[in-house]
Symmetry: D3
Amino acid sequence: MTAIKSLSSQDEFVGYYLLKELEVKQTNSTPAKDYFDIVLCDSSGQLPAKYWDVSPTDKETFFPMGLVKVQGLVQTYREKLQIKITRMRKTTPEDGVVLTDFIRSAPISPADLLAAIKQTVESITDRDIHKIVSYCVKKVEDKLSHYPAAKTYHHAYFAGLAYHIARMLELGEFVCKQRPFLNPDLIKAGIVLHDIAKPEEMIAQMGIVSDYSVQGKLIGHISMASNWITEAALVEGIDLQSERVLALQHLVLSHHNLGEWGSPVQPQTAEAVALHHIDALDAKLQMVEDALQTTPEHEEWTPMIRGLENKAIYRMKW
Amino acid sequence: MTAIKSLSSQDEFVGYYLLKELEVKQTNSTPAKDYFDIVLCDSSGQLPAKYWDVSPTDKETFFPMGLVKVQGLVQTYREKLQIKITRMRKTTPEDGVVLTDFIRSAPISPADLLAAIKQTVESITDRDIHKIVSYCVKKVEDKLSHYPAAKTYHHAYFAGLAYHIARMLELGEFVCKQRPFLNPDLIKAGIVLHDIAKPEEMIAQMGIVSDYSVQGKLIGHISMASNWITEAALVEGIDLQSERVLALQHLVLSHHNLGEWGSPVQPQTAEAVALHHIDALDAKLQMVEDALQTTPEHEEWTPMIRGLENKAIYRMKW
Amino acid sequence: MTAIKSLSSQDEFVGYYLLKELEVKQTNSTPAKDYFDIVLCDSSGQLPAKYWDVSPTDKETFFPMGLVKVQGLVQTYREKLQIKITRMRKTTPEDGVVLTDFIRSAPISPADLLAAIKQTVESITDRDIHKIVSYCVKKVEDKLSHYPAAKTYHHAYFAGLAYHIARMLELGEFVCKQRPFLNPDLIKAGIVLHDIAKPEEMIAQMGIVSDYSVQGKLIGHISMASNWITEAALVEGIDLQSERVLALQHLVLSHHNLGEWGSPVQPQTAEAVALHHIDALDAKLQMVEDALQTTPEHEEWTPMIRGLENKAIYRMKW
Amino acid sequence: MTAIKSLSSQDEFVGYYLLKELEVKQTNSTPAKDYFDIVLCDSSGQLPAKYWDVSPTDKETFFPMGLVKVQGLVQTYREKLQIKITRMRKTTPEDGVVLTDFIRSAPISPADLLAAIKQTVESITDRDIHKIVSYCVKKVEDKLSHYPAAKTYHHAYFAGLAYHIARMLELGEFVCKQRPFLNPDLIKAGIVLHDIAKPEEMIAQMGIVSDYSVQGKLIGHISMASNWITEAALVEGIDLQSERVLALQHLVLSHHNLGEWGSPVQPQTAEAVALHHIDALDAKLQMVEDALQTTPEHEEWTPMIRGLENKAIYRMKW
Amino acid sequence: MTAIKSLSSQDEFVGYYLLKELEVKQTNSTPAKDYFDIVLCDSSGQLPAKYWDVSPTDKETFFPMGLVKVQGLVQTYREKLQIKITRMRKTTPEDGVVLTDFIRSAPISPADLLAAIKQTVESITDRDIHKIVSYCVKKVEDKLSHYPAAKTYHHAYFAGLAYHIARMLELGEFVCKQRPFLNPDLIKAGIVLHDIAKPEEMIAQMGIVSDYSVQGKLIGHISMASNWITEAALVEGIDLQSERVLALQHLVLSHHNLGEWGSPVQPQTAEAVALHHIDALDAKLQMVEDALQTTPEHEEWTPMIRGLENKAIYRMKW
Amino acid sequence: MTAIKSLSSQDEFVGYYLLKELEVKQTNSTPAKDYFDIVLCDSSGQLPAKYWDVSPTDKETFFPMGLVKVQGLVQTYREKLQIKITRMRKTTPEDGVVLTDFIRSAPISPADLLAAIKQTVESITDRDIHKIVSYCVKKVEDKLSHYPAAKTYHHAYFAGLAYHIARMLELGEFVCKQRPFLNPDLIKAGIVLHDIAKPEEMIAQMGIVSDYSVQGKLIGHISMASNWITEAALVEGIDLQSERVLALQHLVLSHHNLGEWGSPVQPQTAEAVALHHIDALDAKLQMVEDALQTTPEHEEWTPMIRGLENKAIYRMKW
């Protein structure tokens, strides 16, 4: 079976893939004919595909997010690769393939990521901070195990958010050792909480964000998380005016650093400054790593990456 | 008695004034002598003042925010007017002057403004919106009657915030009549809530803001108000996921329109668009009105106004 | 007959529509065939359409801005609706349809709008201001009755400009009552004159702007209006150096507020500040109203609106 | 006599100078004493100066823009040079000094500059363009012979504007030869008209701008010149819609290139593009030349120059 | 033979052209057919073209940058002209056409341009500057004779870079005469060196840039030229700390004027300020000249020009 | 002895301090008297000071960067603390104080820092990279042991640059472990080289930058380091076109990330992205740490920090 990432123009191939997107369309010919406009993917990448001369049965057989066995030909259309599907059938149990094989995932299992995050939460020594962080994690625990961290920018895959948090916690631990004036409880809490409302901000399935929720658009994950901290404090009986609540809300509200990047206030505590830069370092390096991994190895340059000033990354030859 | 606003260079005068600011300093001479660095004000304006050769008794007699009878001389220092105080004593009950005569105030009494606001709140027909707005107003009711709306930008005087809200409510009522697709409950609620956390964001006395509070700097009045809505909904038993809560938080969060002006999200409901522009129209026109009123009438130009692209306003001659 | 706005994918329909745009094109097939690339519209909205296999007779029959009876099928092409026209004929007098039924118009008749504007002009008490405003209105009186206010941003329909002016005049009257320091003559004059050169800046037919004029591109409506005031003063024998002329030119020149929005000077009179914000409030709310009205009612979100920071507007469910 | 530019700290000197600015102030001592706060200048530069213990006679003797003989001492105050005047008297006819010796002037005489400009105007071959340019030049002919080109940015001295125009005309002639597709009449007209309204925008005496005029602030020299072209065409009987009028107004309106630099439209004719860059080249190089000339020769760096990205200019050592 | 620039919709024509781009693609039909997606050009301009029903022989016959005789038909596709090629063959020696006839070139021969540049280099009187400039010119001498100055912005044709340098040298000579304080050696050196590394920054053939080189992307022509100066000084035994080296590197590094335009430092010598503005004047006027020349004469407006604030240029009618 | 940082208004004190700055000035009194305008510092901070009635002997005794024993009084001047020196004498060997006790230094000794950096350089496995890095370090080895990293922004003290490099190397080592796709040689080289030219860009003594060098202003440390890499490669016989040279120059040139922050190219290799964010994280956290350490402990807020969006840092109370 051929990985999507390794397909080249004019390749003929057979393999199992996921119908990430599928739409019925009609040709301009007379009479018009139905065809499927498809995005085909596996864990290595994705490509647009066409399936011509769709029959009524086909329309009742194939749906988005279904697994299929495909025979196809790779063509070039507007300087981009596109698959022409010549044969296609749904997979059967005998094929022995499962959905999660076909989506991009964090390199560590969701269960391990969630366990690592929860262990960190348990290590928070301040009672009030511990309660608030636990409350917020509980609100999204289900989604936290599999949600991506973003629609396209970075960690945009299954369990990407938990992976982002887990790696930031490693980095945060190192920075706290290097700079003892930082409060480790606040660094841990800030890392866990900073994107905690993203699962409610975005609508995602199998690590793929289809849209932002109404709440996500009208309030945004930054203010949602701030509201959750208020809710947690009220429910847990913690004084809303306490410096703990203040410190946590400031961490969440300021972590995008600038107003034009969505933060209503700028970092004004040591831990808030640290949080923003730990977040940036992890997110930007992950964008690089993801781009290099999904770019065929013989190519010198990755595609342009919006989150990196729209620059492509060059792969040194040695 | 001479109004501050009408004093000119070389004027000698006697009158009652407020010691808005007073600091003990020392001259560079040997031996150093104590003097008072003062800001003297009445309801028409303010001027810097010096009181030289301060005695130990003086230092125990005069304090900031005290009322005094002053005999002085107006001088020019670095192209600005400055008062040299030649005699000064504290006022006595016999003088018949009271503090509120000496500070700039909204042209309508605080009691009337508060009554108008409360009446509007009562006219909100939606039960949940009414509860949330009432809850938030109650949190700051005391301060709402006398707080300024800003440190320097606009409505920076006694009861300026309530005055700003009351005028916006008039404008909002007109706009709702002109455009029936707007929801009057949301317009009213948005106007009352948009700056409702300002009394906790700033530290003010007699309409004069001395500083921002720690909460004000680390969270800001926009996010504070959003948190209060969460608190109100929880306490009043209103579903946090309801569209009412969502709509109110969106109004508050988006009312500065752009990220660089402090809004984490941009207006995305009809009422949020209206709220931003009603706020802008009222605030900008008040800046103009205040500048014209505090500029001596024979001067063509007001001072430069930071909130109006740092432009001065010209007074037409007819 | 079915309104354009209520058509859904796969609908078959018959009705009268306007050929807003029509271009003859050729297919890539061998031999190439002619087809019509069409924009079909009625007063509720517009959709792209294709009419395949065009005959020589068709090419002599159908032209842009003509009314037609159409039988068609709604398809989806690149995620947007597109009509496939299966039958089409020109309308006849018997059909009883007229052009103005098919274009978007202001909700008030052009005659009434023009009358309201002229009545306001007559109410200007200052002789010189009255003369200048009258002169400028006369220059574009014909076009003022039916021109749109913009190509796409706002009030982009038949009589949109007059409607914008009329609504601003209502708002201006309210603001003058609320703030008596404003000069009502200048507010009225500023509102009538601020976009008065737009009919010469744009080339429009039936409320639809096809392009900007050469003058529009090289001078722009702001400077054109300023020049017209000069012309009016010269013709009417008013001193070019008088404060009236100065005040009117300043109103026009500064009404976009910032250099990057096209204003060579920023508002520096009370009335100029008011004019900019009255204009903004009316234009932005009209964008919202127009977007909500032309979006099918079952859809939560309007399309993105360029003039509103490129945000879509959410329709609350209650 | 010592040139201002060559004075160093601790120098004692005697010489004739101009009292460019003079203000009576009072010391903080008790009793307060009068002193003069002065700006002393000659054609090489200027320095702040103090004249202590001013007598009533002094106050009736010395005024701004008067010539004086001064004995003084150079001191350092806040890291800048400042003159302490020990003796001062008004000049008499016997001293043989005249005002124009003491102000910075263009290196070519005003009469020669004006003659060169007028000769260029006469060489314009197109009748209508010639009439309009002549009309506008005539409006400010008196001031054109001696006005500066700006308050501080560039050519800020006696006849600076005429000098700027004359040098640009030389450059324009060269560019027209190098690029024959440019219309020389329009290049000449654009150069003469682009800043033609500056003498009415600014209030200046002896090449020193004290302020902007009310017209200058509310309309600005760009729109004023555009209005003058309208006026000229009307008076001279030239069709306001003609391409000549259009071309001239476009040149003037667009010559600052960007909205944020004050141009309501951007250059959209070949000549308008040329005009902007000829203007920039001449103005920027003059800023450099002026800064180098007024900086003492032993200093490596000029002061920072606002019009050059606030950078200082380095003088190479060879 | 018909020039590309003069083709209109529905024209049938025969002529010799260059296959500037050629790609084999496949139709969506079943079975898919091969076709050529072509860009056809001559020295007057270029147009997209399609050649349908490509045979295996065709695929071995036609390649990019080959000369062909074409019979075709001009069609309109998405509001742009597109050629449908009906017949096509490779040219033979008998046709008497050569490649350079079909590409856009500077109006002066490469040999003459190079000679003019070299002559200027020889006229540099300072020994060290002369050595460094000669060294750098020698590095790219081959490419300097034919490289374009940019991918799309300006002088984007055969020998465009040498043409840009030669014209700037003329302008530089004039400016040095007008302003004797400028050092002519530095002006000459700055003009020759400012874009000297462009031939290594871009990959071009026949004046057409296909891409940027890896060095071009990772270092950029500005820093490359700075490094070359270091290299030249080392090889030629010139002190790296000398003011000559410093002056040349500063000229190169600062010539884009601002950080956001790619210059790590801003102009801080007289010659650096001059260089930037001479470069701007020449480049912008060439953009205008090129746009006017390649726009059909009956059209009032050129296409929009990215380097001119994305504005089109209007051609006056007289 | 009292640390500068712990002095409060009205304190009288005696102690040893460094005369960081000293300038002779004159009072405005008649006759004028000399006084010293001083900046007094120790390792905890600095304060302005005045020493009145300076004698001729004093002027020959006290100089900048000299150690003194001072008796003084703390006063408040323009809301800031200022010392009035009542007695002062130079220190003698008997006092047992040395210069380095009085300046702010990195918390690790210069020798240890330099050893750590050199050890890292030795650990670079790639021969060419090792040679280039060694060459550049050798160029500034003397200054590297004691130079600050910046004039004011961060690490602005004795050995601040070496400290910045050493801490970044720790962080870089951690990040390389966390993300094995990064090339450790390039990370090490990038960290050592990124600011390697700063000692030549700035003029500093005892960790205090007095100015930028001419080279620093005209070329800047980024381009200087790029040139040094060229020089190193040439001298060491490494191919200038090799990917090693390219990679190192790209790291240095891109490490400020954006053009407006001084980088002529943006990061386009994995290691360049990492370098920028490791630099940012270390520099920003050091700004916070330095501000907290030099702010008296009873104060909630540090002064505003320019490098942190001009925000002050709040010190949590627990």
